[in-house]
Amino acid sequence: MIVREYVPGIEDTACKVCRKCEEICPAAAITLVKDDKRMVVDGERCIDCQRCMDACPENAITMLPRTADYALSVEVSELDQEEIRAICRKVGLAPGEAICACTFITAQEMAGAILKGAKTPEDVCAMTGVRRGCGIYCLVNIFKILDAAGVKPEERVKSHLYHHPLSPLDIPDDRLKKIDAEFPQYRLLEDVSMVRRARGIGINGGGNDHV
């Protein structure tokens, strides 16, 4: 859960409609009104990260105190717990594990957001408040949870992000062993083995091999 205190206000006369705010908003809360050629903020989606204010080259954005809807959270108790556990298991995360070091939002909250209709990383942010802090480190987990829930990449066409669920599990075994032989100090094989054990798969796809 996050508590939102402010919402951005855009000064139309100062705004040059460069759309930088739209591009960097983690929750897709700022959009262009084409007919008016102006930017509008959806206060429901805004997570109060204040990144738009920081990025605006014209200083056209001011954070205004919110008057209502301070808290933002996903209620997971009303959802199918086994479905949540299954999604988390696929990613190798415990449901109650905080996957964002800034907001402490958990894997089950993110999975819950998807079960409640989130289709993009921006939807997950808008529903949970994740990425409100640094906005960077937890991103890969959002991609992974969307993938684990079976949300198709083509449904993410509006995202400004590169879909990037990069995982050590993506490295083919032969290449992994080659890298490990050349650079044993990085313990790549050992760490990959650990990740695979967390997901219940072995180094060659079966059992929990110790490599």
Binding site: C134, H164, L166, Q185, D191
Partner: protein, 299 residues
């Protein structure tokens, strides 16, 4: 044994931090303790404090004598890639001096004038701009500089661990120079693994790849991601050499450079373990210690 506390340089003005009302060093009773008085073997440095940066320039010139720059032709475009934390090490001026000296040596040796400084930001959109203004980098580089950060347009870099995303603007040059520092900053030992490569993932890469480094790989294996970027054909086609400000608990040890970043990294890792390991042991042996951080960029 105890000297009056060395006064730190004034803090850079920033929208991201409120300056402390008073610097710790100005409180009565604060003293400076020379590291060499505790560990005589850790007393060597070319700079620790003060306004004389000539030793930094001299050391940069000296180390670059052995560097191959033949690949740079007069009509080429060269990017000196600088990372933000360097501008907070010992007040930031030493790093600026090293960067200026690298540019001068390249110019003198190759006849190339198209040498641009790229100033990487961590995550705030105004960080690089603030650094450029605070250190008058625009003047130092005759306007030949640019800012870049994790939200800028990316470029796919194919590596042996998969596709990673660099910042297009940083790599849009014939050649790049990795202009970095080895200040450990993070004193846990897994961050000593491939320390010299870290900027390839945490300065010159998009936010998605930075996220994979911190949250998808484990603490040791994640350090291979910047190595994989460095080894990629995309980077090797542009890479010239690395020049780094090597740190010691006693100040700046030297400026070191190499065309082979692996060779430089081995020297750096050994030096860090020898010198910073003892400081870590020292702090572990103190029963009660209050650390005052009154000027950290992200404190």
């Amino acid at each position: 044994m105890y000297e009056q506390a060395i006064q730190p340089r004034p803090l850079m003005q920033s929208v991201y931090q409120s300056p402390p009302r008073k610097r710790a060093a100005s409180y009565p009773g604060f003293v400076s303790l020379a590291v060499g008085s505790l560990f005589p073997e850790i007393s060597e440095n070319i700079y620790c404090y003060g306004d004389d940066y000539s030793a930094i320039r001299q050391s940069t010139y000296q180390t670059l004598e052995n560097i191959d720059m033949d690949m740079i032709k007069p009509d080429h475009r060269v990017h000196l890639l600088a990372s933000e934390h360097g501008f907070s090490i010992l007040g930031g001026r030493p790093y600026c001096e090293m960067l200026g000296a690298i540019r001068d040596v390249i110019r003198e040796r190759t006849g190339c004038e198209n040498i641009y400084l790229g100033v990487a930001g961590y995550r705030g959109f105004r960080e690089s701009e603030e650094v450029i203004e605070a250190f008058q980098l625009d003047e130092l580089f005759d306007g030949k500089l640019f800012e870049f950060g994790p939200y800028d347009k990316g470029v796919a870099i194919e590596t042996e661990v998969g596709t990673l995303y660099g910042i297009k603007k940083a790599y849009d040059a014939d050649w790049i120079v990795h202009s970095y520092y080895d200040d450990p900053r993070e004193m846990y030992f897994h961050r000593f693994l491939g320390r010299s490569f870290k900027a390839f993932i945490m300065s010159y890469a998009r936010l998605e790849s930075r996220s994979a480094y911190h949250y998808s790989y484990k603490n040791r294996s994640c350090n291979f991601l910047p190595v994989a970027i460095y080894r990629s054909p995309f980077v090797q086609e542009r890479y010239t050499f690395s020049c780094m400000m090597r740190m010691s608990p006693a100040g700046i040890l030297t400026i070191d450079a190499d065309n082979d970043l692996f060779a430089l990294d081995r020297r750096i890792t050994r030096g860090q373990l020898e010198r910073f390991g003892k400081i870590q042991q020292l702090f572990e042996s103190i029963d009660a210690c209050i650390a005052v951080i009154d000027g950290g960029r992200w404190a």
